[in-house]
């Protein structure tokens, strides 16, 4: 075990994957010598050479297309999109190509092994072009796996699983936690399961669901509800947005009868909608109150009013209380 922040855990995962398998490559804007604007690929070029870790020209659609071709050849490209806000020029390559590669060819070709890593989320005074949480756009796309880790341990294990997955993965990294989240991480290779949620705190009154950087926030809200009102929250980290672990959530809600979902992205069309729709259907007779969604407002991510915009612990706490008092 070693103490690592999330960037170090990611860097460590990439390092292990590249050491283990020659076909793993890392590239993206400023990813090479510089190690990426957040330094997630630090020292990898030094260690594995310019052909396996390199800068690309400034073109996200090119990066994604290049990665698709490389993966189709059998390589395992780990492509970085500098900010999730800049993944949209690559949207066609990801949604029409990456996601459909295996299906459209009848399994003649596939791009398993391909991972897009990209920092997402707000809370860093980034305004609407350095703060977006676009996971829902990808979650509507069969063929992709979408993952969001919450801490260094999760980031390393899930990233290694992503690189080893036979299916392409979008790996969203909560940049607010890059340096802020520090924890014990095994130094050796390990994987955590894709498609499995994790119950991070058991509870009996209400299920509280989130992912990524919001896990901290819902934990804080749960603590507040516990201290102030004696409410016992069961907290679930969804971890995989696609495919998502319906069973774990259903099981919890069957027990608690209440569900509050929190995410950073705007409410309308966000992934909380999918979860709420599924859960109301599967747990209809067990729900004691409406499923609550605590999300970003339906506006582009603001700057000066960021604090007001965020789905913070107070808003979450209020939703918990509302749900309990329904």
């Amino acid at each position: 075990m070693a103490k690592m922040n999330m960037l170090q855990a990611i860097n460590n995962a990439l390092d292990l994957a590249m050491a283990k398998d020659d076909s793993v490559l890392c590239f993206g804007e400023d990813v090479g010598h510089f190690g990426g604007v957040f330094r997630a690929t630090s020292k990898l070029q030094e260690k594995y050479g310019r052909e396996r870790c390199f800068n690309t020209p400034l073109t996200e659609q090119g990066i994604a297309g290049f990665a698709n071709g490389m993966a189709a050849q059998g390589m395992k490209p780990v492509a970085e999109i500098q900010f999730a806000d800049y993944i949209f020029p690559a949207f066609d390559q990801i949604v029409n190509e990456t996601a459909k590669f295996r299906y459209r060819s009848g399994n003649e070709f596939n791009v398993g092994g391909l991972v897009f890593r990209t920092p997402y989320g707000g809370g860093i005074a980034g305004g609407h072009y350095h703060s977006q949480s676009p996971e829902a756009y990808f979650a509507h796309t069969p063929g992709l796996q979408v993952i969001v880790p919450r801490d260094p341990y999760q980031a390393k294990g899930l990233l290694l699983a992503a690189i080893n997955s036979p299916d392409p993965v979008i790996f969203f990294e909560p940049k607010r936690l890059y340096r802020a989240s520090v924890g014990e991480v095994p130094e050796a290779y390990y994987e955590l399961p894709i498609g499995k949620a994790e119950v991070v705190q058991e509870g009996s009154d209400l299920t509280l669901l989130a992912w990524g950087a919001q896990m901290e926030i819902v934990q804080k809200a749960a603590d507040m509800a516990s201290e102030k009102d004696g409410i016992s929250c069961e907290i679930i980290d969804l971890r995989s947005i696609l495919p998502w672990d319906v069973d774990t959530v259903v099981e919890s809600v069957l027990k608690t009868g209440r569900l509050v979902i929190n995410h950073e992205a705007p409410l309308t069309g966000g992934f909380a909608g999918e979860i709420a729709a599924t859960i109301q259907q599967q747990c209809f007779l067990h729900l004691e109150s409406p499923i609550e969604r605590v999300c970003g407002l339906d506006v582009p991510y603001p700057l000066a009013l960021e604090k007001e915009y965020i789905a913070d612990h107070l808003k979450t706490y209020e939703a918990i209380v509302r749900s309990m008092n329904f």
Partner: protein, 394 residues
């Protein structure tokens, strides 16, 4: 002073524009219309067997296209796209490759598939989306692909294969393979952002890819002069620092020669090459299109004279490699074979219902499995509404 801007470092002191047409690129042509070579033109090295295989492939393409367009008109298949007028461009370039060079096509390159050995049955199974289709009946007709013959499955979104080809070729180089990737695309598709991204990345990262632009004058109804203002597509090569050649796409010897040279150069120095084929899309864009609304019969007739097959045929006859009568006989035999194969393929069952969910992921997810189960139960309840699959559900 160093020059970090990565550009020419000469200075002038009076302001003048570089013309938008400062570079004028000639077209390589070896064969005259009468099947003889131009003065000074050198014949590419080509043995008889290869030359005849190239010829047969062009003829196969032509006859298949005729037959399948008719089948579409009869309502037997839903859609079709011909190669008419561009057979030499496709077959000539495919013939210049190694069998393990990857081909990434747009959609109009059936000649390359055939040259690689895609069987008549395989064509038919795809066109009829039956259960023997390698693509499991999931894509529209002409979206062929086969791993065995290194032919990437065609995808409709235009231009997407261009940066993919760069990535594929980069991977070939890293693996130490002596293979290139050949990437076909139309002059219309060359307007997509992916073209720019793909060529630039290949140049910067030294990927041995041959970018083969089929400039055939039209993108559906849009003529080339509403597609771009520059000198065709070839003049863009210099914008990426990529070696470039323009070639008469109706002259199979020229195409073969240019592609051979391009392949050698690409492998020798790990670099991409841009080739532009100048030919004419003689047929409609697709079976859904009628060109009479946007171009004249005179224009078409003019170009019909420029037939790539007859030009090559004359060369083969001149060489004494082709017998006129035997060839005619062989072609009519081929027509029959195609008809027979068509009749077989159209009777083959459609893919089973389980293929609704296979290949979305390497293994179906639990949700997909559940969706399939529900669907099966539903079909069993209403078998008449789903005749294709109802009888075959366990």
């Amino acid at each position: 002073m160093t020059n970090p801007n990565n550009a020419t470092n000469t200075t002038v002191h009076s302001a003048e524009f570089i013309s938008g047409h400062a570079l004028s690129i000639p077209t390589l042509r070896l064969l005259k219309d009468d099947g003889t070579l131009y003065d000074g033109a050198q014949e590419p090295e080509l043995d008889k067997a290869t030359a005849l295989k190239m010829y047969d492939t062009m003829v196969f393409t032509r006859v298949l296209d005729e037959r399948m367009l008719a089948a579409q008109r009869q309502g037997r298949i839903s859609f079709y796209m011909q190669c008419l007028g561009e057979e030499a461009a496709i077959v000539g370039s495919a013939a210049a490759l190694d069998d393990k060079d990857m081909i990434m096509a747009q959609y109009r390159e059936q000649g390359a598939l055939r040259y690689r050995g895609f069987s008549l049955e395989q064509f038919m199974n795809q066109l009829f989306s039956n259960e023997k289709d390698l693509g499991k009946g999931r894509q529209m007709p002409v979206h062929y692909g086969s791993k065995d013959i290194y032919y990437m499955t065609v995808s409709s979104p235009l231009g997407t294969q261009i940066p993919q080809a760069s990535g594929y070729a980069y991977a070939q180089r890293l693996r130490g393979l002596s293979n290139v990737t050949l990437c076909y695309f139309g002059e219309g598709a060359a307007s997509e952002g992916d073209f720019h991204a793909g060529l630039n990345m290949a140049a910067v990262h030294k990927a041995p890819v041959l970018f083969f632009c089929r400039n055939n004058g039209y993108a559906i109804s849009t003529p080339a002069n509403e597609q771009f203002v520059g000198d065709g597509i070839a003049c863009r090569g210099v914008g990426y620092g990529i070696k470039t050649m323009r070639v008469d796409g109706a002259d199979i010897l020229a195409v073969y020669q240019a592609t051979k040279m391009a392949r050698e150069q690409a492998l020798a120095s790990n670099e991409p090459i841009l080739l532009e084929s100048m030919a004419y899309r003689l047929g409609a864009h697709s079976s859904s299109d009628d060109p009479s609304g946007y171009r004249s019969k005179e224009e078409e007739d003019e170009w019909r004279k420029n037939d790539p097959i007859s030009r090559f045929r004359l060369w083969l006859i001149n060489k004494g490699w082709l017998d006129d009568a035997a060839d005619t006989e062989q072609t009519s035999q081929l027509r029959q074979e195609i008809l027979d194969a068509l009749k077989v393929a159209e009777k083959v069952a459609k893919p089973g219902i389980e293929h609704m969910i296979t290949d979305v992921y390497a293994e179906p997810t639990q949700q997909l499995q559940q969706q399939l189960n529900e669907l099966k139960a539903h079909i069993k309840k209403y078998p008449d509404a789903y005749p294709v699959t109802a009888g075959r559900i366990d």
